[in-house]
Amino acid sequence: MAQYEAVIGLEVHVELKTGTKIFCPSSTEFGAAPNHHVCPVCLGLPGVLPVINRKVVEYAIKAALALNCRIAPYSKFDRKNYYYPDLPKNYQISQYDLPIAANGYLEIEVNGRAKRIGITRVHMEEDAGKLVHQGSISTTPYSLVDYNRTGVPLIEIVSEPDMRTPEEAAAYLEKLKAIIQYTGVSDCKMQEGSLRCDANVSVRPAGQTGLGTKTEIKNMNSFKALQRALQYEIERQIDLLEQGEQVVQETRTWDEDRGVTLSLRSKEEAHDYRYFPEPDLVPMVISEEWVNEIRSTLPELPDRRKQRFVRDYGLPAYDAAVLTSTRELADYFERCVELYNHPKTVSNWVMGDLSRMMNATGTEIGDVCIRPEQLAGMLQLLDKGTISGKIAKTVFEEMFRTGKDPEAIVKEKGLVQISDQAVIEKVVEEVIANNTKSVEDYLSGKERALGFLVGQVMKATKGKANPGLVNKLLREKLGK
């Protein structure tokens, strides 16, 4: 069987977090009552005209710079014509042949191998509205339209066909999301639709340089869906070729429930968008000064920050990558380290207990109620011996749930570590007296029996005994 290679390119739509829409003063707020954030302009009423929101251009430039793109000194808008009830003018104002930015890239890492993925172009456009059906689109007796989202600013980021596996595609999207989030121009929330992704996929025998016939996959609403859809589509295309058939150029949609891609429309049915320059807007001339001004507001981006974490905090590359995967997490980590200068310890807690509890409860870092001061405070209690490592985990869980200060939790629950030698000695003596079998085992050389005895002491003190001290005292008493 021939070896095949997939060729994948992604088209990603990102909603920009401006307060108002791209061509009118309506709010972009998410989740308002239907048709609440509309005005004559975004409703496309007869006679209205668009006026470009300067903030949108600024954000688009900022995102493009973060993606190492070249900003076009001269750029314009075009009309993309197609009929759909969620599109009030029956054309979308977009950018066709002169996008705001082009020729960028970002770096991904899959299985320890770094790879550069090219970015063809970044362009600005307006979002469409939303149709609400009763049940299925094909059987609904009527549909309602919500134009709140109409005119919300988007940038479309088109990659080069540089990805070869679903994992690379997911890594690209993850990285893209991280970079855009770092710049602060978008939330990039896939569930809320502020990050959307379509994929172009083709396969070819390994070693061949020409491209196979591609299909476009739509409707992938999560990273998992992206990977599953690509995996399915690659296998489907390989199967076709193996059976001597041909891949048909078409648009396909991912059916999440059935786990398959389905044909949406063929190349022949593809729209002729009849792009032409938007006569209601004048071309944009973007000065180098403005670009530089925007460039100067770019924050430290994930790759840089990761390198700095390795260099300045002595963290393993893996830790640094995880901690810098979002700006909020990296900020959280750095704030903790500012207050408690043991980076690796902080990293262990953030990547360990904190991440686990965030995953278990579906909490985002921004919503975690343990403040960095509190995490640092708990680590200091641990250092001082006020609490044991084991108790620290209990305290941490309580902090995560309640947001209370570690000192308060320790006091409330009586979790202060027992380091009083006399108290522990007494318990140790009792344990030795009550566990003669284990004592004999230990004395006859079975080191493991000591662990059992330590456990018994900890149990009797409800885990509060200082484990180091327990160990030391047991060894002393057993004369070894």
């Binding site: 004559p40 409703l43 496309g44 009423l45 007869p46 006679g47 209205v48 005209l49 668009p50 006026v51 470009i52 009309r79 014509n81 009929y83 009830p85 009030p88 003018k89 029956n90 054309y91 549909s143 339209v145 002729d272 009849r274 792009y275 032409f276 006569p279 209601d280 807007l281 004048v282």
Partner: protein, 484 residues
């Protein structure tokens, strides 16, 4: 002379002196409307009650000693493709027969600020597509000089209203001659300002890169007064240009000695009626007598204006008119199978034949595989035409030409021959492609029908155009000739 036949500047003085009230004036115009509207049909919607109220408010303010803007209390008619808040705006199309805008066009805000009295909305060719007002989705408007003849289009209702005494001033829109042609046919003054001089916000788009709002008036002075109201930068229109707006009255000196005027030979050739040519030649002599230097010149790409226009305008129209689909407002066909069927039926039933023709032309011109051969080529031709004007206007202050090749034609004469109809605009189209300002002023009569002379100027050179037009008007005495 009846009030409804007077110029705005004369009425303005009478109002200021308290010789008449705005209410009297308004009633006089409505009385005239009651007399002749049945024959002329200049209006689609009349707003009598509000107009009288506005007039009374002006009188009240005047009595209270308030400082009023120059045109306060002057009755004005507005073409029905300019959005009026709370007042039906149909574009003379069945597809918008019930559409009431929730907002005012920028020019309407300016008219309100000027305290002018809005009489109603005037008839037009559907979506401003036509040259005779016969393409109205409701009924044609008749020429007040001969009711068997067309008033010209597309702003035929506004031109006829001003000529017939049914309005003192009016607004129209000009995409390829839609103000100047009806002004010429109806014997009034009509001006298309520079593209970007008047805000298009609230003007229902036909061809966005060519559309421009402008005034109809009974003489050049009134035209200048109206320009003073409507010109100016508007941040809601990105194509509106920030510029220092002069007081256009200051150009009305009668002094044009040394002015250089070019007469492009392409506009005086075979397609032009000899009687029209004669009148233009007479006008040339008037200018020479006034001390202007007039010479023949050339705009070599003139022949390509019409084909370029009929690719660019329909292309933009095909997109601009896509929004009329029955989903949100206007006409919606009933008994549709599904949404696509609804789109098709609504648009098939809602648009008239000329609008459909241009939508199809434009859709074709923008289609994949044809774009470069048609639309793109037309854009290049447009650049050449613009360059022709740039060059000519480097040498001359103004260009002079007939506004139309002939006088108003009979209703029904050209409706079955779109190309014949399109030819009526050959003298006006190029100005829109070049984006420059131009005026049409009455220059004489042929068999009792008015002939218009066109003066074209540099971008934002409205003042110089008005200067020449005013001098001509004063010297020739051809103004304020109105049919009874």
């Amino acid at each position: 002379m009846q009030l409804y036949h007077m110029t705005a500047h004369r009425l303005q003085q009478m109002l200021a002196k308290g010789e008449i009230s705005a209410e009297e004036l308004c009633r006089s115009v409505f009385q005239r409307i009651d007399e002749v509207e049945e024959k002329i049909r200049a209006y689609i919607t009349l707003d009598r009650e509000n107009a009288l109220q506005q007039a009374k408010a002006v009188d009240k303010a005047r009595r209270a000693g308030e400082q009023l803007p120059p045109l306060a209390g002057i009755p004005v008619a507005v073409k029905d493709n300019i959005c009026t808040k709370g007042l039906r705006t149909t574009c003379a199309s069945k597809i918008l027969y019930n559409y009431v805008p929730p907002y005012d066009a920028t020019v309407m805000e300016l008219l309100h600020d000027a305290q002018m009295v809005l009489l109603g909305k005037t008839n037009m060719d559907e979506f401003a597509m036509g040259s005779s007002c016969e393409n109205s989705g409701f009924y044609p408007t008749c020429n007040p000089w001969d009711t068997d003849r067309v008033p010209g289009g597309s702003s035929g209702g506004s031109a006829a209203a001003v000529a017939a005494g049914e309005a003192v001033l009016a607004l129209g829109s000009d995409t390829g001659g839609s103000i100047r042609l009806p002004a010429a046919y109806c014997g009034v003054v009509g001006m298309k300002p520079t593209y970007g001089a008047v805000s298009r916000y609230g003007l229902v788009a036909y061809a966005s890169s060519l559309d421009q709002i402008g005034p109809f008036a009974r003489d050049v002075t009134d035209c200048a007064l109206m320009l003073n109201v409507i010109c100016g930068h508007d941040p809601r229109d990105s194509t509106s240009v920030p510029y220092d707006k002069p007081d256009y009255r200051t150009f009305l000196t009668g002094e044009i000695k040394g002015m250089k005027i070019g007469v492009p030979r392409e506009y005086m050739g075979e397609g032009i009626d000899s009687a029209v040519r004669e009148i233009i030649n007479k006008a040339v002599r008037v200018f020479t007598d006034l001390g202007a230097e007039v010479e023949e010149t050339s705009l070599p790409h003139s022949d390509y204006a019409l084909p370029a226009y009929y690719l660019i305008a329909p292309a933009e129209a095909s997109s601009n008119l896509a929004r009329y689909d029955g989903v949100r407002y206007g006409y919606r066909a009933d008994k549709s199978e599904d949404v696509v069927d609804m789109f098709k039926k609504t648009r098939s039933e809602g648009f008239g034949p000329e609008v459909k023709r241009r939508i199809m032309l434009g859709t074709y011109a923008l289609s994949a595989g044809y774009y470069d051969a048609y639309y793109n080529k037309a854009l290049k031709v447009r650049t050449l035409i613009k360059r022709d004007f740039d060059r000519a206007l480097e040498k001359y202050d103004l260009l002079l030409a007939p506004t139309a090749p002939g006088t108003a034609f009979k209703r029904g004469e050209k409706v079955d021959d779109p190309l014949q109809m399109y030819m009526v605009d050959i003298c006006t189209l190029a100005v829109n492609l070049a984006g420059i300002p131009a005026i049409s002023v009455p220059a004489g009569n042929v068999s009792g029908l008015p002939v218009g002379m066109q003066l074209m100027g540099k971008p934002f050179g409205e003042g110089e155009i008005l200067r020449a037009a005013y001098a001509f008007e004063q010297c020739s005495g051809i103004c304020c000739q109105l049919p009874d």
